[in-house]
């Protein structure tokens, strides 16, 4: 089913990204081996000139990737009317075995692209391109994932058949089934809430502390990065385990995708947008901190890391506030 406008757009982006990364990869390899900022040789001058091009190219690739991830989820939700038995994005993604791998690859690429952009922004601020090797090393990691994402998306969209009866979120998140999704759904709302608040609140605290503190500690920055990643996973689990129940006001409907639909006032976007942004900011904060050992980044890296931690703190605070509000204003009573 290639002839759907949004599918064509998604594939166009995936192809463009894979092609641009493929063009950039040999150059990245050459640069990692031959880069020498102290040298004034012809080769070095040529490399320096080329970095301008490839940096711009990669910023473009990463921004496109972030847009494409959003569009992918949006489209999966939108297409559910075309499949028998599908009621939300789960149904669309379950039409064949490539749907969920495609989603996971998109999410992985989203975070990789966001982290790369953070690295690039930091590197651009220093005078002597201290992170050039790290940046282009990361590109060599990004390229195969982007290529895999293209292949999986081609397989997924190519094998979409409208007459397949797909399973809806009700069967995937039913508590008897044995998948990861079902395990998440089977967590009791009470313990899930305790877990949610006991991970998210310390994450906000440590991020805010890192942001506001005068001294800089790599350890604390690392803690922000790890806590952000953990908080992201816990928040997703929390959405499945209890937040969704309160939004639907139904004790057994665990779907994390139906909340994106107009029937529920698009409330999902209120959770997911700050959540993804906060996770990306927090992880970037942890990632940038160790680079303060380069002399040109000695003050730049900590400043950037702190600012990102601040943004992560705000993002996660929003997530907690939105989830709490949704639980409080719901008419469903799960716990006394």
């Amino acid at each position: 089913m290639f002839f759907q406008p949004t599918i064509i757009a998604l594939l166009l982006v995936a192809m463009l990204n894979a092609a641009m990364l493929a063009v950039a990869s040999p150059y990245a390899w050459q640069l990692i081996r031959q880069w020498d900022i102290g040298s004034g040789s012809d080769r070095q001058l040529r490399l320096e000139r080329l970095t301008y091009f490839f940096s711009t190219l990669l910023v473009f690739v990463c921004l496109l990737q972030i847009a494409s991830t959003l569009l992918f989820v949006f489209n999966a939700d939108h297409m559910h009317t075309m499949f028998v038995g599908a009621m939300c994005a789960i149904g669309t993604l379950n039409v064949n075995q490539w749907g969920f791998p495609a989603l996971y690859l998109q999410l992985a690429l989203f975070f990789m692209a966001a982290l790369w952009l953070a690295l690039n922004a930091l590197d651009n601020r220093a005078r002597d391109y201290p992170l050039v090797r790290v940046k282009y090393g990361a590109l060599l990691v990004l390229a195969p994932v982007a290529f895999a994402s293209l292949v999986v998306q081609l397989l997924y969209f190519g094998n979409l058949e409208a007459d397949v009866i797909t399973s809806c979120c009700g069967s995937m998140f039913s508590e008897e089934s044995e998948s990861v999704a079902a395990t998440l759904a089977a967590i009791e709302p009470g313990p899930a809430m305790v877990l949610f608040y006991s991970v998210l609140l310390p994450t906000i605290f440590v991020s805010a502390w890192h942001w506001r503190s005068t001294g800089f500690s790599r350890l604390r920055a690392g803690a922000v990065g790890l806590a952000s990643a953990l908080a992201f996973l816990v928040s997703i689990a929390a959405v499945v385990a209890f937040v969704s129940l309160y939004i639907y006001e139904h004790p057994n409907h665990h779907c994390p995708f139906c909340i994106l639909q107009p029937e529920f006032g698009y409330q999902g976007y209120l959770i997911y947008i700050p959540l993804f942004a906060a996770a990306a900011f927090g992880m970037a904060s942890g990632l940038l901190a160790p680079f303060n050992r380069f002399s040109s980044l000695a003050t730049l890296a900590p400043t950037a890391s702190r600012r990102l931690a601040g943004q992560a703190a705000v993002g996660y605070a929003l997530v907690v506030a939105v989830c709490t509000l949704m639980v409080l204003k719901s008419n469903l009573i799960l716990l006394d």
């Binding site: 759907q4 406008p5 757009a9 982006v13 641009m20 711009t56 847009a67 949006f74 075309m82 028998v84």
Partner: protein
């Protein structure tokens, strides 16, 4: 942060004046770009509106229609058929319908003759759809003679014309009394065309359909959601096909954009050379060029999109209508409800702006890394 905004503001300022200095070249590009956006946006706005019109119309139709099949063809429902269904849990109401097609040799078109469920019509009178009003000149209190399939001539008095708002569904409709209907078609007593079921819970519809198939093996239940799905797929498919065909024009535009920005004039070269000589960095030049591209792409997108909006919702999509709408003698005239869909907007943006940016990346870089020395000397 303020520094950053200030810096971008100055760059943008510079870019705008520099664009204004090369008016003809940039306006040419802008016009072509806007045209491309206009064509693509027209197609997707129109299909989107058609799709939601179909959804809106079908919302009021019954959840399940049951037809009886004989040798794989649609056949009449015999009198005792309904008893076979009996009571089905979850079904709010079961009703029979009487309708049929009549070919009018005058117009060379088919009418849909129907006995309404909710309104009573006296014998000898009919109510007609709006398309019949303007193609056969029927108004209230005019008479019409129709030649039945048996050869007899039947005369009816038009008592009312259905409102124009319902034209999408009622264009070719003729509503009449049950007795008239049976006489006109020689329709056997007690028989019906099909059965409609309304179901309260949307999740039960599929199960009820399956139960019906079990109880009445010769029946074909048609679910509303299936009809809706078919419409959805058809319109999305037509739109996608048209976009795929138009992608050739996107490619052509990409080549044009590449050409335009590769062919730096001597003036532009000198400008970049001077900028670099007075202290601009390569990064600044790239940023300036980026703003240039952004200004062109954004205004072209906006301009093209607004034009497409006017074309679709106020000028009835007259350029491409036959491709997407389909064709019929008694085609309903209908106005589409203006609307903009976020996903469609993003898709369109990817179709137009992304290829443009990809095409100008290399030329921008080439321009930005020009050596001031070589430029000023030449």
């Amino acid at each position: 942060m303020n520094d950053w905004i200030e810096r971008q503001r100055h760059l943008l300022d510079f870019t705008l004046t520099s664009l204004a200095r090369r008016k003809t070249k940039n306006i040419g590009l802008l016009v072509v770009f806007a045209l491309l956006v206009f064509v693509l946006a027209s197609v997707s706005l129109y299909t989107q509106a058609l799709r939601s019109e179909a959804v809106r119309v079908l919302e009021q139709s019954p959840e399940i229609v049951v037809q009886r099949l004989v040798a794989g063809r649609h056949d009449l429902i015999p009198p005792d058929y309904l008893e076979g269904i009996g009571r089905l849990r979850g079904v709010r109401s079961i009703e029979t319908r009487l309708w049929g097609y009549y070919y009018d040799p005058v117009l060379k078109a088919n009418y849909t003759l129907m006995v309404p469920r909710t309104r009573t019509i006296e014998q000898g009178e009919i109510v007609v759809g709006p398309a019949l009003e303007h193609t056969r000149g029927l108004g209230t209190n005019t008479g019409i003679s129709l030649r039945a399939y048996s050869g007899e001539l039947h005369t009816f008095l038009v008592t009312d014309v259905l409102p124009h708002e319902t034209e999408l569904m009622s264009a070719d409709l003729v509503l009449m009394n049950e007795g008239d209907f049976r006489r006109f078609f020689n329709f056997p007593d007690g028989h019906y065309t099909d059965i409609v079921l309304s179901v309260a819970n949307p999740r039960e519809v599929r199960n009820i359909g399956l139960k019906l198939m079990e109880m009445l093996p010769d029946a074909r239940p048609i679910l509303r959601e299936e009809v809706l799905r078919t419409y959805n797929s058809i319109y999305a498919w037509r739109e996608g096909l048209l976009l795929a065909l138009l992608s050739a024009s996107i490619l052509a535009f990409g080549i044009l954009a590449w050409e335009k920005s590769t062919g730096l004039s001597a003036d532009e070269r000198r400008e970049i050379g001077i900028l670099k000589a007075i202290g601009w960095e390569t990064g600044d030049v790239i940023r300036m060029k980026f703003w240039e591209g952004f200004v062109i792409a954004f205004s072209a997108f906006l301009f093209g999109y607004v034009l497409a909006y006017v074309h679709v919702f106020y000028l009835r999509f007259f350029l491409f209508e036959p491709v997407l709408k389909g064709w019929a003698v008694l085609y309903p005239r209908f106005a589409l409800t203006p609307q903009i869909d976020a996903m469609q907007l993003i898709t369109l943006f990817i179709f137009t702006v992304v290829p443009y940016v990809a095409a100008v990346l290399v030329p921008i870089w080439r321009a930005a890394t020009t050596d001031p020395d070589t430029v000023m000397r030449s």
